[in-house]
């Protein structure tokens, strides 16, 4: 093996939590680069560079440890009506075995967090989220017959994403995944170990998330790596995930928006409409927290839209050519708020962006003033070339940037 020249045993100590898969991921992480995620150590990248991991997501199969996600169990006679009240989606039409992506808001219609609601059984739900939400759930459950439990440490989670992910799972699952539709889940066994598999993920590709008892996590990891070997399964870290989620135009808390729970000023808060999540707001269903405010906002729409932009190559190349450099493309996703102008007036800001290796295009997600947010509008994007600020054209485009058919299709 390559590390034969580095015989010392690598040991480390951390005050952060380690995931149930850490025994495997820590040994595979060649770069030993980790990021903090919900108090856990999460692999930034396993290789010295994330390129190969990115292409595993888009052309093979990527295995990601997503255990740091917060997971809540909501059970009891009022579980369904409780969930329906908590989130903006209409949970009353969420069938058993269905998963819904949804934001949830405060009374003023400003987004607190976003995640998925899994309808596991009769009055039995699981909510996943980026941040802790237990208190928010408990505070809003008074008078309702529900049992809310923080399951974050009781469930280990892996995401298996990419075009070969279905084939790999079919090799070891007692039930075929061929008919499992997008945003549906099944209970099955992987070589005898009970798991829940949802057809969900954060990559915008064909992919699944596997929810399993932590005591079985290593067995599941090993069997996936083994059965996935000939399908190109690759452990993947957060750098590659970040690029794919931008390509899929999936928003990230604390990057693309700030939770209304801890935004210091009102202006920092966003409604679902301001985050491009109009489709998640059910106005026809029952009342939910924030509905009244959102009804008002619908009547008098916000000044802000959330859009995708494409930074135009020719001008970017020209700016760099002037100083004798090839176009400076970001080698990984960035998260620095970057101004957008229209005729020297700032009309918005991009919150995350990357060079898309599959689209061969420089893309970003941006908050844009509604007057300038029409598709095909041409704005000016701020770049720094050799320490000097320059403006270069960017076009407002439809999202998601990347949306392969396989994401939602079933075989045959």
């Amino acid at each position: 093996m390559i590390n034969s020249h580095n015989p010392q045993k690598f040991t480390g100590h951390t005050q952060l939590k380690t995931s149930p898969f850490f025994e495997r991921t820590s040994k595979l992480n060649q770069s030993q680069e980790w990021r903090r995620w919900g108090g856990y150590l999460a692999a930034t990248q396993y290789d010295l560079h994330h390129d190969n991991e990115y292409f595993a997501i888009r052309t093979k199969a990527a295995l990601l440890d997503v255990s740091p996600l917060y997971k809540y169990s909501i059970k009891g006679p009022d579980a369904q009506s409780f969930m329906d009240r908590m989130v903006t989606r209409n949970i009353n039409i969420c069938e058993i075995g269905q998963v819904m992506y949804t934001p949830w808001c405060n009374e003023k219609g400003k987004v607190i967090d976003d995640g998925t609601v899994q309808h596991l059984g009769e009055n039995n739900f699981r909510l996943t989220s980026a941040e802790p939400n237990l208190t928010w759930l408990l505070d809003n459950s008074s008078g309702m017959n529900v049992n809310i439990k923080d399951d974050s440490n009781n469930i280990a989670a892996l995401a298996l994403q990419g075009p070969n992910s279905r084939d790999i799972l079919n090799c070891i699952s007692s039930k075929s995944l061929n008919n499992l539709k997008f945003f549906r889940l099944i209970n099955t066994k992987l070589n005898g170990i009970p798991v829940t598999i949802s057809r969900t993920g954060y990559t915008g590709d064909l992919g699944y998330e596997i929810w399993v008892d932590p005591s079985k996590s290593i067995e599941i990891w090993d069997m996936l790596i083994k059965s996935g070997k000939s399908y190109g399964i690759t452990p993947v870290g957060l750098n590659a995930l970040d690029i794919s989620r931008i390509e899929a135009s999936l928003i990230l808390l604390d990057v693309d928006y700030i939770s209304s729970k801890h935004a210091l000023i009102e202006n920092r808060k966003s409604s679902p409409y301001e985050l491009g999540l109009d489709w998640t707001v059910k106005m026809k269903g029952n009342d939910f927290i924030g509905k009244k405010a959102l009804e008002l906002e619908k009547k008098s729409p916000s000044n802000w839209k959330f859009r995708g932009i494409e930074i135009q190559w020719e001008s970017l190349e020209k700016e760099y050519k002037k100083v004798g450099l090839p176009p400076g493309l970001p080698s990984m996703a960035w998260r620095t708020s970057t101004p957008l102008y229209f005729k020297n007036k700032q009309v918005g800001y991009a919150t995350s962006g990357c060079w898309s290796p599959i689209l061969k295009c420089y893309i970003a997600l941006a908050h844009i003033h509604a007057d300038y947010a029409d598709i095909n509008s041409c704005l000016d994007f701020e770049i720094k070339v050799e320490h000097f600020r320059k403006l270069t054209p960017a076009i407002v485009v439809e999202t998601p940037f990347y949306n392969p058919k396989r994401k939602t299709s079933c075989p045959n």
Partner: protein, 526 residues
């Protein structure tokens, strides 16, 4: 003889350059027909399932030089472009190895094991070659002017290039001159001391060329290989998912999207010329297609000595084309494997199998391999540039199996006694024996092998003498001299007959550049 429909332009040859030209012309609203002799598109950039379940980039196998404007203008990502990174070079040695990756610090430490001096020099060398590559780019991206009788646009192009060269620093100008004239070995000797490092780098100076690392001129070929970039990163190499044929199909899909017609199994016999003007083509089956212009994507020998009668061309031009050097020097061995090769010096699976594997332990290995070829034999211990496409893209082989692509040099076209089945097998054996010295298990895991000699490259893929670049990349046949002086701007002595293959400026490799620039030139004068 039947008269079939009329086209604005007919392109002979569905190689990647012919398809690129077709896509550009169709994009400009022209009615275009591409005629390909084989059943499959791509020319030398082709993927074929040679053995059931095992797919091979049969000839050309890596991508680096594909122009970024071609990618954008033909919207290739939309039609299937997926270039997977090939991020390392592994040089196995008898008791050790050299393993360079795209990570600068890792590579520094690795070279440091062998030579602290080289490790430091390497950090300087890469950026310098990148800078020179960037400096040379505008020359590659300019339609080669006619220096003897320049038009106004030729003069403007020359002036622009001159201004560009003037802007080069003294240091860059000096190195550029050295690269244009020296041997890669001499050039690298000025920099490095560790032989396996020098030999592996020098090897890119002999690829596709009938020269050894100590032959003057080989440094330019090395530079040619440094000019590629992927996403703005110079000297980056990649592998198209599905093989190079899938890249050709991507361009073909783009061409079709813009309205081009593409026919396979349609071998062209002759370009029809009336009153000194090309007016269409005749297929081998007798069908004729009329068109306003005809463009050949084939090499200069075929374009001018086969597709048209010599009497249609000026005799000095015919002489130039006859003298055009197109000696084949390489072969290809494609292996279907039951497992992965196990290198003695770095056993097991690992990142070293995800990049290029170079059998180039020292200069003498390369130079001796060339010596064999000089005297009419294939190399007994050849140089090899190997990749394992199935490691990058498991769809290339059945689950658990692998495909291995070995580019092998030297295999002269004019081998003593001529190529035959037993020589082909002996050549294949020499390749496997050389490889087995470093990965002894190779003999046990071969399920099938395909050996392609230069003669096979000529017969099957229409590469005259088996030359992968449609003509060597040597000074006397570059830029305004490629393929012949006065006719380096994609025009030919026959009116309405054009050329767009790798035998035109800027030469071989999967660049799309000759196809793109030919189409742009044609559209300019149409």
């Amino acid at each position: 003889m039947s008269k079939l429909s009329n086209y604005d332009a007919i392109i002979i040859g569905g190689g990647h350059n012919g398809l690129t030209a077709a896509a550009y012309l169709a994009r400009a609203g022209k009615k275009v027909l591409v005629l390909e002799r084989r059943y499959v598109l791509g020319g030398a950039a082709v993927t074929e399932e040679i053995f059931p379940g095992f797919k091979f980039s049969v000839c050309s196998y890596v991508i680096s030089l594909l122009k970024s404007n071609v990618i954008r203008e033909l919207m290739l990502p939309r039609f299937g472009l997926k270039i997977l990174p090939l991020e390392s070079t592994f040089t196995p040695l008898d008791n050790d190895y050299l393993f360079r990756t795209s990570d600068g610090d890792q590579t520094y430490k690795e070279i440091y094991r062998h030579s602290p001096k080289d490790a430091e020099t390497y950090k300087r060398f890469g950026p310098l070659m990148g800078q020179i590559g960037m400096a040379v780019r505008p020359i590659l991206e300019t339609i080669a002017p006619n220096p003897l009788n320049p038009s106004i646009s030729d003069l403007m192009a020359l002036k622009k290039l001159l201004n560009h060269v003037k802007r080069l620093s003294d240091e860059h100008f000096e190195y550029l001159c050295k690269l244009m004239t020296m041997s890669s070995a001499d050039f690298l000797d000025e920099w490095f001391e560790f032989e396996p490092l020098k030999a592996t780098m020098a090897a890119s100076g002999i690829i596709g060329t009938f020269m050894g690392p100590r032959s003057p001129g080989s440094a330019y070929v090395m530079l040619h290989h440094y000019m590629g970039d992927i996403d703005g990163a110079f000297r980056a190499w990649g592998f198209q998912k599905g093989g190079t044929g899938e890249l050709s199909m991507t361009i073909a899909r783009s061409a079709k999207h813009f309205g081009a017609d593409i026919m396979t199994e349609a071998p062209v016999n002759k370009v029809i010329i009336k009153n000194g003007k090309a007016v269409g083509v005749a297929l081998e089956n007798g069908d004729e297609y009329k068109s306003n212009i005809v463009i050949s994507g084939l090499d200069p020998k075929l374009s001018f000595l086969k597709l048209v009668d010599e009497k249609e061309l000026p005799s000095d031009f015919v002489q130039d084309i006859k003298n055009f050097r197109i000696r084949g020097s390489s072969g290809k061995v494609n292996l279907a494997l039951d497992g992965l090769p196990n290198f003695t010096s770095l056993p097991g699976d690992g990142p070293h199998l995800r990049g290029a594997i170079s059998i180039s332990p020292n200069y003498n290995h390369l130079e001796k391999a060339y010596d064999d070829a000089k005297y009419g034999n294939f190399s007994k211990e050849p140089y090899m540039d190997i990749i394992l496409p199935s490691v990058l893209d498991p769809d290339m082989a059945p689950p658990g199996k692998h495909v291995m692509s070995c580019f092998v040099q030297y295999a002269p076209y004019d081998i003593k006694g001529g190529w035959n089945d037993s020589k082909r097998e002996a050549f294949g054996d020499a390749v496997i024996n050389t490889l087995a010295r470093y990965a002894p298990n190779i003999k046990d895991i071969i399920l099938h092998r395909q050996v392609l000699t230069p003669k096979d490259l000529e017969t099957t893929f229409g590469l005259t003498e088996g030359n992968i670049f449609h003509g060597e990349l040597t000074l006397q046949q570059l830029f305004s001299l490629r393929p012949a002086v006065k006719w380096a701007d994609y025009t030919t002595p026959i009116k309405n007959y054009f050329q767009c293959g790798s035998g035109t400026h800027p030469g071989g490799g999967i660049t799309g550049s000759p196809g793109e620039m030919a189409a742009k030139k044609i559209l300019k004068i149409w």
